[in-house]
């Protein structure tokens, strides 16, 4: 299916939504309104949970903050509902920012549990704060008016609700395909990977969290002015899990999943409410929640992915065009060869009582390939983590291009021009090769959330795509840019990581066991690539490797570590003849 066809389908869907009230009965229109309102909350959950990997049970309370804000402003203070909207967004945004700032550093399940806790706290707040009607709620909320046109009836507010929803979906769609959106999608790969391409993972999480709260706030505002009444009940944790259920049943990784899930659950609920009293006239209320919970559990047990991805398997794929050749992204000037690029000065790192790195000093000179070797447990990986900022040093200094980067955050070191790969490959298996490499361009591009959502980033995006495509071609993976990274064999995944690192236009490339798991031919190709990076582009490379033949034939100099200390340094031939090295390391084989 081409892009044009896809657009036509989308336009047809919008027209269908617009025409719906003409042939639906009033009750169905009301149901559609609820679907739209719930889908907005679910859309927020798709972003935070499906895309960002953070499960929130507390979205209902964000909806509640907004609903109460606008109810207070319009019903009790007689302000316009539009002022209510402003207040709702500001207050919700503020609360979400504070809650997010506090809780988003937590690991997954702690974060989710905290959403239950503050969800409950906010719920009890609604019921107990004086002036908000306690558990009786706030009645007589005025309708939204546009000019003198009051949106009283279901058919009228229908258009506002669905216009808001469609706009929110379009903006989210743009955002996910932009620079910051890719960072959002990468969050599930773990902080270390995200930070290694210069992304401030915490900032992305926080903004995603606030966006999802604001979507819930929009929904709460619409809810308050549609029902014209608010009370605490619709905003408790039970509802929070209902929204989560909508997002997950629909397919929490997909924007459309929010609408599909909201529609399905709302209609199902309606049906169950009609049906259960026939089966169990006395216990219908209790059974409803039992039935829903049981259905949700069954769904989570057997069909976790949700409806949208299941249906999508049977639909034609959208054809994607290879990136066009455009003006490349600006590049750094590499330092003159032979200068001191990186200086590690008496670096120390202790784990408990164990000195993993003990007073190690060495230099990396621009334009060279330096190999760091040593037996397992010698502290090479720890040394790597100190250089790239993944671990704080216990003592000593690391200087890169004459600025002290000791204990700097990883992302700043990455932005300064250090790009790395990981011993245990960290890619996003469900993103395409191109998208994975595009992550590498993050620090070289600027477009923020607004530009991305509004689609004002296209020129820069074209450049970044072109750059990513060039890097894919350079490492030899250019033939299928839209393949999913998870489908590559492990060896090629390592190569893909190198392409991602190269897309950052680094000064220093730091490779952790790049040849592990490669076949002999692939190793030769890799060595050739690394050589050409050094010889043709003056790129400096630091690598840890176990494969001696690979190291000896490739590097200019070697640093040997054993038990946390440096035991030798020099050219390959010198190191090979060093007695201590032979004893500790090479002696066993040669």
């Amino acid at each position: 299916m081409s892009r044009l066809q896809l657009r036509l389908v989308a336009i047809a869907a919008v027209l269908l939504v617009a025409a719906a009230p003409l042939f639906l009965d009033p009750f169905s229109v009301t149901l559609a309104n609820y679907i739209g309102i719930y889908a907005l909350v679910a859309l927020g959950l798709v972003l935070i949970t499906g895309v960002g990997g953070m499960v929130s049970f507390g979205q209902a309370s964000f909806m509640g903050i907004a609903a109460y804000s606008t109810a207070w402003a319009s019903a009790l203070m007689d302000y316009s509902p539009w002022f209510g909207l402003l207040l709702a967004l500001v207050l919700t945004g503020l609360v979400a920012t504070i809650l997010g700032a506090v809780t988003l550093r937590l690991q997954g399940h702690f974060l989710s549990l905290s959403t239950i806790a503050w969800g409950l706290a906010i719920y009890f707040l609604f019921g107990n704060v004086d002036g908000l009607g306690h558990f009786n709620g706030i009645p007589s909320i005025p309708p939204i008016t546009i000019g003198s046109f009051a949106l009283i009836s279901s058919e009228r507010i229908y258009y506002l609700i669905w216009a808001v929803l469609i706009a929110a979906m379009l903006l989210s769609h743009n955002l996910l395909n932009s620079r910051e959106g890719r960072a959002m999608r990468a969050l599930r790969g773990g902080d270390a990977m995200v930070e290694s391409v210069g992304v401030n993972a915490f900032r992305i999480k926080l903004i995603t969290f606030v966006i999802s709260a604001l979507l819930a706030a929009l929904s709460g505002w619409l809810y308050a002015h549609m029902g014209r009444f608010v009370s605490p009940t619709p905003f408790d944790v039970t509802r929070g899990i209902e929204y989560l259920m909508m997002a997950m049943v629909g397919g929490s990784g997909y924007l459309l999943g929010a609408v599909v899930g909201a529609a399905l659950i709302t209609l199902l609920k309606d049906w169950v409410q009609d049906f259960l009293p026939l089966v169990a006239p006395n216990a219908a209320g209790q059974l409803e929640i039992v039935v829903f919970s049981a259905l949700f559990i069954l769904f989570l047990q057997y069909a976790r992915d949700g409806i949208v991805p299941f249906v999508a398997k049977f639909l034609p794929q959208v054809r994607r065009e290879r990136p066009r050749a455009v003006e490349p992204l600006p590049r750094r000037t590499q330092p003159e060869p032979g200068q001191t690029l990186l200086k590690v000065d008496n670096a120390k790192r202790a784990f408990g009582g164990l000195m993993a790195v003990n007073d190690v000093s060495f230099e990396v000179r621009s334009g060279e390939i330096l190999g760091l070797i040593g037996p397992n447990g010698a502290g090479k990986s720890t040394m790597f983590n100190l250089i790239t900022g993944a671990l704080p040093a216990t003592g000593g200094k690391v200087v890169f291009t004459s600025s002290d980067i000791t204990n700097e955050p990883q992302r700043l070191i990455a932005r300064a021009g250090v790009a790395r790969t990981f011993q245990h490959v960290k890619l996003r298996p469900k993103m395409t090769l191109l998208d994975n490499v595009l992550l590498g361009t993050y620090a070289r591009t600027q477009s923020g959330f607004f530009k991305g959502a509004l689609g004002l980033d296209r020129a820069e995006e074209e450049q970044a795509r072109h750059e990513a495509m060039m890097q894919l071609e350079r490492v030899g993976l250019g033939d299928r840019p839209f393949e999913l990274a998870g489908n590559l064999p492990l060896g090629n995944q390592r190569i893909l990581e190198i392409a991602r690192a190269l897309a950052a236009d680094p000064i220093l490339l730091v490779l952790d066991e790049p040849a592990a798991g490669l076949r002999r031919q692939e190793k030769l190709a890799l060595a050739k690539l690394l050589r050409s990076l050094r010889d043709d582009e003056n790129l400096t490379i630091l690598l840890v490797e176990h494969d001696m033949e690979f190291v000896m034939g490739l590097v200019n100099r070697i640093v040997v570590m054993e038990f946390g200390s440096k035991i030798s340094e020099g050219e390959p031939s010198t190191v090979r003849n060093d007695a201590r090295v032979q004893e500790a390391y090479l002696g066993g084989v040669a």
């Binding site: 784990f351 397992n376 064999p489 076949r519 494969d547 033949e549 390391y585 002696g587 066993g588």
Partner: protein
């Protein structure tokens, strides 16, 4: 009758077949090795043999078809695996790790203590570290603990997945020396290795696996001198 016969075993992940119709045998008292490049399906084969991965085909151990048994039941029959990732209990002491190694035997504590003492005899380094948490051990020590823990089950057949992985050559040699000594103890061994030369030097018989299939087999000696294999598997990772 072989102690272990893997008979037409296949393993698939979704559409991709990681192991295709593999058959091999381990005779009592033998060390048999499966060599091959990364991604050949060696680990999947072992995981299927122990029952951690679902597979088709038959796995016959000591004359009995164990294909439908749970992993734990296979362990109780003296059929054990030291996996590639070692899977130690990082927050338990070395001693407790060893003690749990004998869990499947339900033996008296005196007998277990004797066995632990024997493991310490074999691996004096572990004795030095007996009260240390397993998570604080170095790579070589971890491999020794993984081996020692497996021996605590008094296995009759021990499968070792890449025991040299991530170890420096000196330690690798030490580990292979220990593996060879296990044979004298009466333990049969199925050894999966990327380090082809070291594996063949230790083994009696070898299989070569590539992209999910057995492509060669023969006595370890014959394989070691097979010029095609030398070119493919033994040229790569040696210094000299």
């Amino acid at each position: 009758m072989p102690l272990l016969a893997i008979d037409n075993v296949s393993v698939s992940y979704g559409k991709a077949e990681a192991v295709r119709d593999v058959s091999l045998q381990v005779e009592k008292g033998q060390i048999v090795t499966v060599i091959g490049p990364n991604g050949a399906g060696k680990t999947s084969l072992l995981m299927a043999a122990i029952g951690l991965l679902r597979s088709t085909g038959r796995i016959i151990y000591d004359g009995r078809d164990i294909s439908r048994l749970e992993t734990e039941e296979r362990i109780e029959m003296g059929f054990c695996l030291v996996p590639e990732r070692r899977e130690l209990f990082s927050d338990l002491s070395v001693y407790d790790n060893l003690r749990l190694g004998a869990y499947s035997r339900r033996a008296a504590s005196g007998e277990i203590k004797d066995d632990i003492a024997q493991v310490f005899d074999r691996f004096p380094r572990l004795l030095e570290r007996r009260n240390q948490m397993a998570g604080t051990l170095s790579g070589g020590e971890r491999q020794m603990l993984a081996l020692g823990r497996a021996l605590m089950a008094r296995p009759r057949l021990l499968m070792l997945d890449e025991p040299s992985l991530g170890l420096a050559p000196l330690i690798t040699r030490e580990i292979f020396r220990i593996i060879a000594s296990l044979r004298d103890l009466g333990v049969s061994i199925l050894l999966v290795e990327q380090n082809a030369r070291a594996a063949l030097e230790t083994a009696d018989f070898g299989y070569v696996m590539e992209t999910g299939e057995i492509v060669h087999s023969g006595s370890a000696d014959a394989l070691m001198h097979d010029p095609r294999l030398i070119a493919t598997y033994m040229g790569g990772s040696e210094v000299s």
